[in-house]
Amino acid sequence: MKAVRTKPRPKRTPPKVPANWNPNIVVFACNWCSYAGADTAGVSRIQHQPHFRMIRVMCSGRIQPGFVLRAFERGADGVLVSGCHFGDCHYISGNERAVEQFEKTKNVVTLLGLEEARIRLEWISAAEGARFAQVINEFTDQVRKLGPSPLAGNGRAKE
C-alpha cells in the first residue's frame, strides 16, 4: 500500500480501487460510423456511463499511436479506438490500417507497464446506437476494475 505512493513505481500490487472512483476514458471515433453510432444512441436516448470524452476524427485510420500514448501520458485510465465495421469504412480500408496501428500501439502500451485491458478497439456502425452504449458501459466497468492508471497524475511530472 505504501509502495503505491512512491514516485518510481515498482511492479504493481493488486490494484486498490478507491471507492466511488470513476475512470477517465478517451474515445477516438471515426465520423461516419462510431461517432454517428454515438449520435444514434443519443437520438434513441440510450443511456450509458458518462466518464468518457469523445474525440472525432474522419476515419479510424487517422488514429496514430501517438494519440493513444499522449492520452495515457496525460492521465487517461483507458482509451477506446473505434471505427466502422470491416468493409464499411467510408474510406474503403482506413479501418484495416487502424488495426495495424492499434497492434503497434498495444505493444507500446504494455511495454509502458499498462494493462492491456486499458485499451480496446471496437467496430460500431452508425445504426448501432445500442451497441455503442453497451461498449461504453462494458469498457468503463472493465477499466474501473483496473483502478487508476499508474501513469495518471505523474505522467506529466516526468516530462
Binding site: C33, A41, P50, H51, I55, Q64, R74
Partner: protein, 1013 residues
C-alpha cells in the same frame, strides 16, 4: 429556418391567396397580405413592445395553455421574426372596428380567452407599444395590401389542423381540466413551452403520477373520420418515453390503442424498446368514457381490454388524447381559389391516390405533406421534394446559376480570440445540463473572449446573434456547444461564410446527442463531461486554420439505376428538366414489380397496374432519357459531380455522371417452407395470387361440366388439370370456396426482418375484397392492421362490410396451416375471442414482406460506400431531414431500396430524389472540401508509404530534383480520411482540420491542462 435565409425564397407571411389565373407555367397569383401593424423592415424583434402591451390574448401556439399579449411573435423561431398585432385583441385597433365586428369579436373572445370574462371595448387610444418601440416600427395605419406574382407552378402545403376533441363529449375534453390533447402535452414537454418541459396537471400544476394516453381520438371511425392519422401511435410512444425520462415522478403510463401502427423504418424496434423498458403499459381497447373524480380532479377511464377480456377502470391523474388530424379549415377555400378538388373529408384531393402523392386535380398545382391527409415527417419531406421536382418542370426557363456573392473575407489573424455559444436546444440540452454555468465555465478558459447561451443556436435568431457576437468581440475562433456536427456544422459554417468568417475556424462541441440525451439521469457527471468537452473544443479551436474550398467542373448528367416505377419516375423528372439521364435496367423491360404478372391492380382505387405503367413509360419515352435495357452497372468510381460509370451487358460503355439515383427496389420474402409453402400446393404468396388474377382474366368464365377442370384451383390442382377441353384455362378461383390470408410473413419477425413492410396490409385487404366479391369466404389473420395509406382505412371498412373476417393473432403466436396433401384449414389463437380457432380453407395466401434486394444492395454498397442499416436496407442520411440522401454526396435513394414502401410513396420518393439530384446538377462546378491531407515537401523523405496506403490513389511520388522524390497529394482525389497522416514516418503530412496538434490539444484539455505551445 433555412428557407428564411435563402436568397431565392421570398416569404410572404400573414397573407392569403385570393386568386389564381392562368395556366401551368404561367400563373398569376393574387395575394392579400394582412396588416401586421408592425413594419417588417424596421422591427428588430427586441420584444420591448410586448412588455409594454397591457392587453392579453389567447396563445394559439401554446394551445391556450399560456396567455400572450396583443402584440406578439407567433412562436420563438418564427420567420420572419417580426412581431404582429392581434387586431382582435389590441385596444387601439378596436377603435377602427364597426359595431358588428365588435360584437363578433366579443363572441370570439369569450371562447378564446378563458381568463377575461368581460369584454369592455376601450375606445381610447392605448399606444403603449408604439411608445415603447425604439425603432418606430409600429404602424397603426397599416392596411391590407394586395399583390400579384407571376409563377410557373403552385405548391399547396396547408397542412392539417387538430381535430377538436370537444366534439367527442365522452372523453370530457374541455370539461375536465386534466384531459389534454397530445398537442398540449407536446407544448408542455417543450423547454420554451409553458411548463419548461415538465408535465403538469392543469388543475393544480402538480406532476401527474398516473398518465393515460387514449389513441385514435377522432380517427378511425370516431367523430366521422374513418382514416388513420398515421403519426399518433409513434407520437404517443415517444411522448411516454420522454415523460418517463424527464419526470421520474410519473410512475405509470398506460397507452390505450386499437392497432399499434409502427410502420416506419425502425418504428417497431422503438415500440419494442418501450415495452422492454416498461416505459408504458399497452392496453388494447377504446375507452367508453372518461369520468371525473371531483375531489382531486383526477379521472377514471372505463375501457374494455379487448385482449385481456376484462372491463377495466383505470385511474389517472392526466389523460392525453391523441387527437386525429383534421383538414385545415382554410384548405377548402384555398382549393376553391386554386380550382382544385378536395376529398370527402376536406383534404386536398390527389389526381390519382394510387400513384402520385403530389399531383392535384389541376395541372401545375402540386401538394405536399398533410394537406392531402395525415403524414409522418419523413413522408412529408419526401413529398415536398417531390412536389418541388414536379413544379420545377414549369420553371426550366428560370433556372438560376449560383449567384456568386463574394463577401470579403474577414481579417481573422492574430492570437486566438475564441467566442463560445452554448445552446439550450430548448429542453434538449438545458433540461439536463446547466447551460448558464457551462457558459461561465467557458468564459474562464484562456483565450475565450465571449461566452453566452442561446435558446436555439441554429434558429435564425441564434445565427444572427452569432454574427453579432463575432463582430462585437472581434472573435476569430468560434465554438458552438450544441448538437452533433454531423448535421449542424454546415448550418453554422454557412452563417460564418456569409459574413466572410472562414467556416473552418468553427468547432462544434456535441453536448446534446452525446451528452444531455444519453446521461439524463446523471446530471453532475453530465455537466462535468460537457465542461470538459467545451474545454477540448476551445483547445482545438485555438489551433484551427482557415481553409479555402476548391472547385472542379461538374458532369451535368444523371444515372438512374433500376427501371421499376421508382427509376422510371426519377428518370422522367430529371429528363423533363432538361438534364441528360441514363436509365440502366438489367432485365429486358421496364416496370419492375408493376409489370405483368406481378401486380394486377393498385389499391385503393383498383386501377389496373398495366395502365399506370403504360402512362409512366410513355411519359418517360417522350423525354430524351436514354434507356439501357439488359444492361448492368459494372463499376462506379469518382465522387459527386464526377462519377465514372461502366456498364456491361447489352450496352457496354463508360460515361461520366454528376449524380446517381439508386432505384433497384426490394425483393419479396420467399417463405422457406413455413406455413406449408412449397409442399402444400394451395399455399401461395400474395404475389402468386396476383398471377392468379391474371390467369382468371385470361380464362373464360365457363359453364363447363368437366369435373376435372372444375376441381382446378389456385395453386392446387391447376397445374395438373388446368386445361379445359376447349383448350382455355379454367378460372383459378372456380373451386375455391374459402380463403385465408396470413399477414406479416417475413416481416416484424426478428429472424427475417424486424420492421413492418407497409404495403402488405392494404394489399391483403385489396385482395381479400377481390376474393370476397367472387363469393369466397375470406379470413385475414393479422397482428395489427396497418392501413395507413390514403384510402386504405376505407378499404378496411369495405372488406368488413363484405364479410371478410379479421382474426387477430397475439405477438409471438404462429398461425398453423393444417392439412396433409393440401391446406385444409388454418388454426391459431384468436386474441380477441381469447381461444383457439380453426378456420377451414381452400386457399392460403401468405402476405410476404419486403427485404433488401440481393446481390444489388451489397454490390452498390461496396461500389459507392453508402451505408446500410441494421435491417439491410440502404440507410438514409437522416430519417427526417434527409430521407432521400445517402451519406455519400450525389448518391440518392428512390423507392424500396431504402426500406419497404408502397407505390405512392415510392413514386414520391423518386421525384424527391430527382429534385435532390437536380440540386447538384444545377451548378456547373463542384466545391471541393478543403479538409484534405497535404505534404510538407521539406520534411518528406519520399518513402512512398502514403502513396501505397491511399485507397483513392491520391498520392504520387514526383521528382523534385535529380533523384529526389517527394510525395504529392491530389486534392480532388483526397477524401481527407487522414490515414496517410497517421502512417507518415517523417511527420510530413498534415491532415487538415484534424492535425496532430489539434488532436493533442484536445487530449491535453481533457485533463484540464492548458496548452501553451
Amino acid at each position: 429556418m433555412d428557407a428564411g435565409r435563402h436568397p431565392l425564397i421570398d416569404v410572404v407571411s400573414n397573407a392569403e391567396v385570393i386568386g389564381c389565373e392562368g395556366r401551368p407555367g404561367d400563373f398569376r397569383v393574387r395575394i392579400r397580405k394582412k396588416p401586421r401593424y408592425v413594419r417588417e423592415d424596421k422591427c428588430v424583434a427586441c420584444g420591448l413592445c410586448v412588455d409594454a402591451c397591457p392587453q392579453v390574448g389567447g396563445n394559439e401556439f401554446d394551445v391556450g395553455l399560456k396567455a400572450r399579449k396583443a402584440i406578439y411573435r407567433p412562436f420563438p423561431q418564427s420567420v420572419p421574426a417580426t412581431y404582429v398585432i392581434d387586431s382582435d385583441a389590441c385596444l387601439n385597433l378596436l377603435g377602427f372596428l364597426s359595431e358588428k365586428q365588435r360584437l363578433r369579436l366579443a363572441k370570439v373572445q369569450k371562447i378564446k380567452q378563458r381568463k377575461r370574462e368581460d369584454y369592455q371595448p376601450n375606445l381610447l387610444v392605448c399606444g403603449h407599444c408604439s411608445k415603447a418601440c425604439e425603432v418606430d416600427a409600429i404602424d397603426f395605419d397599416m392596411r391590407a395590401e394586395e399583390m400579384e406574382v407571376d409563377v410557373g407552378a403552385v405548391l399547396v402545403a396547408v397542412g392539417f389542423m387538430e381535430f377538436d376533441a370537444r366534439k367527442l363529449g365522452n372523453y370530457g375534453y374541455g370539461r375536465f381540466p386534466n384531459v389534454v390533447t397530445s398537442l398540449e402535452l407536446e407544448r408542455m414537454l417543450n423547454a420554451s413551452g409553458v411548463t419548461q418541459g415538465h408535465v403538469v396537471r392543469p388543475s393544480d400544476m402538480k406532476t401527474p403520477k398516473r398518465m393515460v394516453f387514449i389513441q385514435c381520438v377522432g380517427a378511425r371511425g370516431e367523430g366521422g373520420r374513418p382514416y388513420c392519422s398515421r403519426f399518433c401511435c409513434m407520437n404517443a410512444v415517444k411522448d411516454s418515453m420522454l415523460v418517463r425520462q424527464h419526470d421520474p415522478e410519473v410512475e405509470d403510463v398506460t397507452i390505450l390503442y386499437t392497432d399499434l401502427r409502427a410502420f416506419g423504418k425502425g418504428f417497431d424496434d422503438f415500440v419494442q424498446r418501450s415495452r422492454d423498458e416498461k416505459s408504458a403499459t399497452y392496453v388494447r381497447g377504446r375507452p367508453a368514457k372518461v369520468d371525473h373524480v371531483a375531489e382531486d380532479d383526477s379521472l377514471e377511464i372505463f375501457v374494455e381490454d379487448t385482449l385481456g377480456h376484462s372491463q377495466e377502470r383505470i385511474p389517472a391523474d392526466l389523460v392525453v388524447l391523441s387527437v386525429a388530424a383534421a383538414p385545415n379549415e382554410g384548405a377548402m377555400k384555398v382549393a376553391d381559389i386554386l380550382g382544385i378538388e378536395t376529398d370527402v373529408y376536406g383534404f386536398i384531393a390527389r389526381r390519382d391516390p394510387a400513384v402520385s402523392a403530389v399531383e392535384t386535380t389541376r395541372e401545375g398545382i402540386y401538394v405536399a405533406g398533410s394537406a392531402v391527409g395525415p403524414q409522418v415527417i419523413p413522408d412529408c419531406v419526401a413529398q415536398a421534394s417531390a412536389a418541388a421536382a414536379r413544379a420545377a418542370l414549369y420553371l426550366t426557363g428560370y433556372r438560376v446559376e449560383e449567384e456568386q456573392k463574394t463577401v470579403d473575407p474577414m481579417d481573422l489573424s492574430g492570437p486566438p480570440r475564441v467566442g463560445v455559444m452554448v445552446c439550450h436546444c430548448g429542453v434538449n440540452i438545458a433540461g439536463t445540463l446547466d447551460v448558464e454555468q457551462l457558459a461561465s465555465h467557458a468564459a474562464k478558459i484562456p483565450d475565450v473572449v465571449a461566452a453566452e447561451t442561446n435558446l436555439f443556436a441554429c434558429s435564425s435568431a441564434g445565427q444572427d446573434r452569432l454574427v453579432e457576437l463575432i463582430k462585437e468581440h472581434n472573435i476569430n475562433r468560434v465554438v458552438i456547444a450544441a448538437c452533433t456536427p454531423r448535421t449542424h456544422e454546415p448550418i453554422f459554417q454557412e452563417t460564418c461564410a456569409r459574413i466572410g468568417f472562414n467556416p473552418y475556424l468553427l468547432e462544434m462541441v456535441n453536448i446534446r446527442d452525446q451528452c444531455s440525451w444519453v446521461h439524463a439521469g446523471q446530471t453532475v457527471e453530465a455537466q462535468e463531461k460537457a465542461k470538459a468537452l467545451i474545454r477540448m473544443g476551445v483547445a482545438k479551436a485555438r489551433h484551427l486554420h482557415p481553409l479555402q474550398a476548391g472547385e472542379v467542373p461538374m458532369a451535368r448528367a444523371a444515372l438512374v439505376i433500376g427501371g421499376g416505377i421508382g427509376g422510371i419516375q426519377a428518370a422522367t423528372d430529371l429528363a423533363a428538366q432538361g438534364f441528360p439521364v441514363t436509365l440502366v435496367e438489367k432485365t429486358d423491360r421496364l416496370g419492375g414489380r408493376l409489370a405483368k404478372p406481378n401486380l394486377k391492380s393498385l389499391y385503393p382505387n383498383m386501377r389496373p397496374a398495366a395502365e399506370v405503367l403504360r402512362e409512366k413509360v410513355d411519359r418517360l419515352k417522350s423525354t430524351d432519357a436514354r434507356i439501357l435495357l439488359n444492361t448492368e452497372v459494372e463499376e462506379i468510381s469518382g465522387f459527386v459531380g464526377n462519377f465514372e460509370v461502366t456498364t456491361s451487358g447489352a450496352t457496354q460503355e463508360t460515361f461520366p455522371v454528376g449524380a446517381i439515383v439508386l432505384a433497384t427496389g426490394a425483393e419479396l420474402h420467399k417463405p422457406r417452407g413455413e406455413y406449408g409453402y412449397g409442399t402444400l400446393p394451395n399455399v401461395l404468396t400474395s404475389e402468386e395470387l396476383e398471377h392468379a388474377f391474371f390467369e382468371e382474366e385470361e380464362a373464360v368464365p365457363g359453364d363447363s361440366e368437366d369435373a376435372t377442370s372444375r376441381a382446378s384451383g389456385v395453386g392446387g390442382n391447376k397445374r395438373r388439370s388446368g386445361e379445359r377441353s376447349d383448350g382455355k384455362a379454367a378460372s383459378p378461383f372456380e373451386s375455391v370456396g374459402s380463403a385465408s390470408f396470413i399477414l406479416c410473413v417475413g416481416s416484424r419477425d426478428p429472424e427475417c426482418f424486424s420492421g413492418c413492410s407497409r404495403y402488405c396490409c392494404p394489399t391483403a385487404i385489396k385482395q381479400a375484397i377481390l376474393l370476397a366479391k367472387r363469393g369466397i369466404d375470406t379470413t385475414i389473420f393479422y397482428r395489427d392492421i396497418r392501413t395507413i395509406s390514403s384510402g386504405a382505412e376505407e378499404m378496411y371498412r369495405e372488406a368488413r362490410g363484405l364479410g371478410v373476417l379479421f382474426i387477430r393473432i397475439p405477438p409471438g403466436e404462429k398461425v398453423e396451416v393444417i392439412g396433409e396433401k393440401r391446406a385444409e384449414g388454418v388454426r391459431c389463437f384468436d386474441d380477441l375471442l381469447g381461444r383457439r380457432v380453426e378456420v377451414p380453407t381452400d386457399l392460403v395466401v401468405l402476405s410476404v414482406g419486403m427485404r433488401p434486394r440481393q446481390p444489388e444492395t451489397d454490390r452498390f454498397h461496396d461500389m459507392l460506400k453508402a451505408s446500410i442499416g441494421l435491417d439491410g436496407f440502404f440507410l438514409e442520411r437522416h430519417p427526417e431531414l434527409a430521407p432521400i440522401e445517402t451519406a455519400v454526396e450525389g448518391v440518392l435513394l428512390a423507392g424500396t431500396i431504402q426500406g419497404p414502401k408502397d407505390i405512392v410513396d415510392t413514386v414520391a420518393q423518386a421525384s424527391a430524389a430527382a429534385a435532390k439530384a437536380s440540386v447538384f446538377l444545377a451548378y456547373d462546378k463542384v466545391k471541393l472540401d478543403p479538409v484534405t491531407a497535404v505534404v510538407d515537401a521539406l520534411k518528406c523523405r519520399g518513402c512512398g508509404t502514403c502513396v501505397d496506403i491511399c485507397p483513392y490513389h491520391a498520392g504520387e511520388l514526383v521528382e523534385s530534383g535529380p533523384g529526389v522524390y517527394v510525395a504529392e497529394i491530389n486534392a480532388s482525389l483526397c477524401k481527407g480520411c487522414g490515414t496517410c497522416g497517421s502512417w507518415c514516418p517523417s511527420g510530413a503530412i498534415t491532415c487538415r482540420h484534424f492535425t496532430d496538434r489539434q488532436v493533442h490539444a484536445m487530449i491535453d484539455a481533457f485533463f484540464g491542462e492548458e496548452v501553451t505551445t
